[in-house]
């Protein structure tokens, strides 16, 4: 049986499989592919353009066909099926039993490059990675433009296949780290990678931790900075951002776009972010500690006015704080989930709940509303979504410790957090190292 017939039989249930015969002079070639991935009319006219009938007299048909793309005559049948699934066009010349896979004119299945959705930048480039790996790698190449940029692409999965690209700068990356990374990836090529959790398993990193091993970025300039600092940047097909491995403490408050400002402002901005991070962590715990455990730390005037504002509040400070924090978390989650046309309604209703109404109903004190506003504002200063999620969780740890042990508990909670961060490692690289590998 010919290759074309065999393939047709394999794809008999896929009604987007197309097989066409093209007559070129005396010769007939068969082209086949999936019409959902390939723009057929364009592709066929492209092939007609490539093969001039006049040339056929001078050249052997086989040579002409092989010149169109990669010769895969010697490939096993499964490999040909994979080529088709990936969106390649197979050209078969039955007479010489030649089979070639070539890059067709594709259907546009991904959005064009747009502004980042989760990260905003006002002082830097505004292009963002999207779901197409080719676009992402292309963007990275455009931004990096270095001779020692190396890319390795792996195909994961046995039934559902997905591509992962690892990129790094040969001169900047720590060879030991690179070797561990590549070994980890190559030893688990049979696993499926559809999301980041799957990928964490592939890398062999533990899933039960509160800090992220890698952080995601939508911005090519951040990926470029990571590469320059000796880190690996990974792309997963269909995942609209780059993974930067390993994630470091500096990623909490440093962003590449800061460097477009005058150095003084860069430093000031980063200090501001650090202050914001500390505020988010400490503020709820501090409120509870000061109100219920250590009111002696406050100035008398403040203590007196807080006592006044809590006059008819029925719950202890910790319950009151938890109540509002949970409403706040719900609100933040709801706003992500909702379409943008309903979003403002939720914001408005949330504003009423978290605002004066709760105070008027004597459910919470005035000061707590201020504390809550401060937390919400300052939590937005942290760079990166994964990092802000860590902070969201850590503040509860501090809150509970503060409720039980007051200011002392808050302090010991911070010590626990510091030691947790200090002990966190990704592929033996400590989390608390500086932005660049040692010796740099």
């Amino acid at each position: 049986m010919s290759i074309a017939a065999e393939l047709q039989r394999h794809f008999v249930h896929d009604n987007d499989f197309i097989l066409r015969q093209i007559h070129l002079g005396n010769e007939v070639i068969a082209v086949m592919g999936l019409k959902t991935l390939i723009d057929f009319p364009q592709t066929i006219s492209m092939i007609r353009d490539l093969i001039q009938v006049d040339d056929l007299a001078d050249h052997d048909m086989r040579d002409v066909v092989v010149g169109l793309g990669d010769d895969c005559s010697s490939h096993v049948f499964e490999k040909l099926v994979t080529e088709i699934q990936l969106g390649m066009l197979l050209v078969v010349h039955e007479n010489s039993e030649t089979c070639v896979s070539l890059i067709p004119v594709p259907q546009t299945l991904s959005r064009s490059i747009s502004a980042p959705l989760t990260e905003n930048s006002i002082s830097g480039s505004n292009s963002a990675f999207n779901e197409s790996m080719e676009t992402n790698v292309g963007l990275l190449r455009k931004y990096t433009n270095a001779d020692d940029l190396q890319l390795k692409t792996y195909m994961f999965g046995s039934t559902v296949k997905n591509r992962v690209t690892v990129s790094y700068l040969k001169g900047a990356i720590d060879p030991a780290f690179l070797q561990t990374l590549i070994e980890a990836i190559e030893s688990r090529l049979h696993l499926e990678v559809n999301n980041l959790q799957d990928f964490t398993k592939v890398l062999g990193l533990s899933s039960f931790n509160l800090i992220t091993h890698y952080h995601t970025t939508e911005m090519p300039q951040s990926a470029m900075r990571a590469l320059r600092n000796g880190r690996a940047v990974l792309f997963i097909e269909r995942v609209p951002f780059a993974l930067v491995l390993p994630s470091l403490f500096a990623d909490l408050y440093m962003s590449e776009d800061d460097n477009n400002l005058t150095p003084i402002y860069t430093v000031l901005l980063r200090l501001l972010r650090l202050f914001g991070i500390l505020t988010t962590l400490i503020a709820p715990g501090l409120y509870v500690a000061l109100v219920s455990v250590n009111p002696d730390v406050l100035r008398f005037e403040l203590a007196h006015s807080i006592a006044k504002s809590r006059l008819d509040v029925p719950y202890p400070a910790i319950v009151e704080t938890l109540l509002l924090l949970i409403v706040l978390e719900l609100l933040m989650e709801a706003i992500i989930r909702l379409p943008s046309s309903i979003g403002p309604t939720v914001t408005m209703v949330g504003g009423i709940v978290l605002g004066q109404a709760a105070v008027s109903a004597k459910l919470v004190s005035n000061l707590l509303i201020i504390v809550l506003a401060v937390i919400t504002i300052s939590s937005a200063t942290v760079v990166g979504i994964q990092n802000s999620q860590s902070l969201r969780v850590f503040k509860y740890l501090l809150l509970f410790l503060a409720a039980a042990f007051g200011v002392l508990g808050l302090m010991s909670g911070l010590v626990v957090l510091c030691s947790y961060h200090a002990g966190f490692k990704t592929f033996n690289l400590p989390y608390l190292q500086s932005t660049k590998p040692k010796g740099d």
Partner: protein, 354 residues
């Protein structure tokens, strides 16, 4: 796995054993701002000045009770009140003269050791019966009742002719050979809430004498307290002290301690009478300060209380048994040479003649 279980148990125990349910929220605590302690033949009467926590009206609540010890009375008051009395925010402790003369050592020791009251709490002697004083405060309070607190706040109502003595200094004076303190004395004022009536010289926690407000100012200058903005009236001029600084040099000659002190004063001239020269103003100020200080020093020497902490300068010259006799043997023999050096800031409000 076992390790994980142990950790989880530890975390659970941390919260189960924390005792956090005993924490009282701030609105369930009474925060007295001033406490009055009056002593009468072994029995204490305690007055608490508690700014009341209500939304509509700002006033204070005066609560009093009596018993055999300070702690007993406070416990008693706490029992009878709807919230727990929390002395952590206590800012001022008032004692009556009888208590001060009887000796504060036991009261101070219990305050410092119990740690319920901050050691930085101001200590004040009331120059009139405490019940009268607190009645007056209650009647004249218009704000949230923090008048007595503000009166001793350095960033509010305190002025340099009032002594500034936190509790820990009295504790130190009781246990030190070479340090005594003065405690401010107040009474209810006629048109103001509080009136200062000078300060009490304390020797080992007992009141042995009294200083006027002018003498207290000098005391503060000598102790290096910033007396900025203080106005001094002399024969020919009124001057304002802009800053003051003191340098001391000590020597021990045949068991007679000598101290050379130089007070540097920076002043500006506020107004003059009869167009005096700057030299004259300087000379007058120097004479005035020296004379007043010498009188003050003699008074202190006579009382045998080292309120200036002069003995501190001789601690490395004397052995410990000798230091124990500092107040009785050395201080009365001590000689102090005081030099006042004045700089007139002549570009201030008034330009004086050279």
């Amino acid at each position: 796995m076992k390790m994980m279980l142990m950790r989880m148990v530890a975390v659970v125990l941390l919260f189960l054993l924390s005792g956090c349910w005993d924490n009282k929220d701030i609105n369930h605590r009474s925060l007295p701002i001033a406490m009055g302690v009056s002593y009468n033949q072994g029995s204490y009467t305690i007055y608490l000045d508690i700014p009341s926590v209500t939304e509509d009206e700002e006033k204070i609540q005066i609560i009093s009770d009596h018993g055999d010890s300070i702690n007993e009375v406070i416990d008693h008051i706490s029992m009878n009140m709807e919230s727990q009395v929390d002395l952590l925010h206590l800012k001022v402790i008032l004692v009556d003269k009888a208590f001060a003369k009887h000796g504060l050592s036991e009261g101070i020791a219990s305050i410092i050791r119990s740690r319920y009251i901050a050691p930085k709490t101001m200590f004040v002697i009331c120059d009139e019966p405490l019940d009268h004083f607190f009645q007056h405060i209650d009647a004249s309070s218009t704000d949230d009742g923090t008048a007595i607190y503000d009166y001793f706040q350095k960033n509010a109502g305190w002025s340099p002719d009032i002594a500034y003595t936190p509790t820990w200094r009295i504790f130190r004076s009781i246990h030190s050979y070479t340090n005594d303190v003065v405690i401010p004395m107040i009474k209810s004022g006629d048109s103001t809430v509080i009136k200062s009536t000078g300060s009490a010289i304390m020797k080992n926690g007992k009141m042995v004498g009294k200083l006027t407000n002018e003498e207290t100012l000098l005391y503060n200058v000598f102790n290096g307290v910033n007396t900025q903005g203080k106005i001094e009236v002399m024969g020919h001029a009124t001057v304002q002290i802009v800053s003051s600084r003191i340098g001391n040099r000590s020597s021990l000659e045949q068991d007679q301690p000598r101290l050379r002190s130089t007070v540097h004063l920076k002043i500006t001239v506020m107004d003059t009478r009869g167009n005096p020269s700057m030299v004259l103003i300087k000379k007058e100020l120097q004479e005035l300060v020296t004379r007043e200080f010498m009188l003050l020093f003699q008074k202190v020497q006579k009382a045998g209380a080292d309120v200036f902490g002069l003995g501190q300068h001789f601690r490395d010259d004397l052995t410990r048994p000798q230091l124990a006799r500092w107040r009785t043997d050395y201080l009365p023999n001590m000689k102090v040479d005081l030099h006042v050096k004045t700089i007139v800031r002549n570009t201030g409000n008034l330009k004086a003649r050279k």
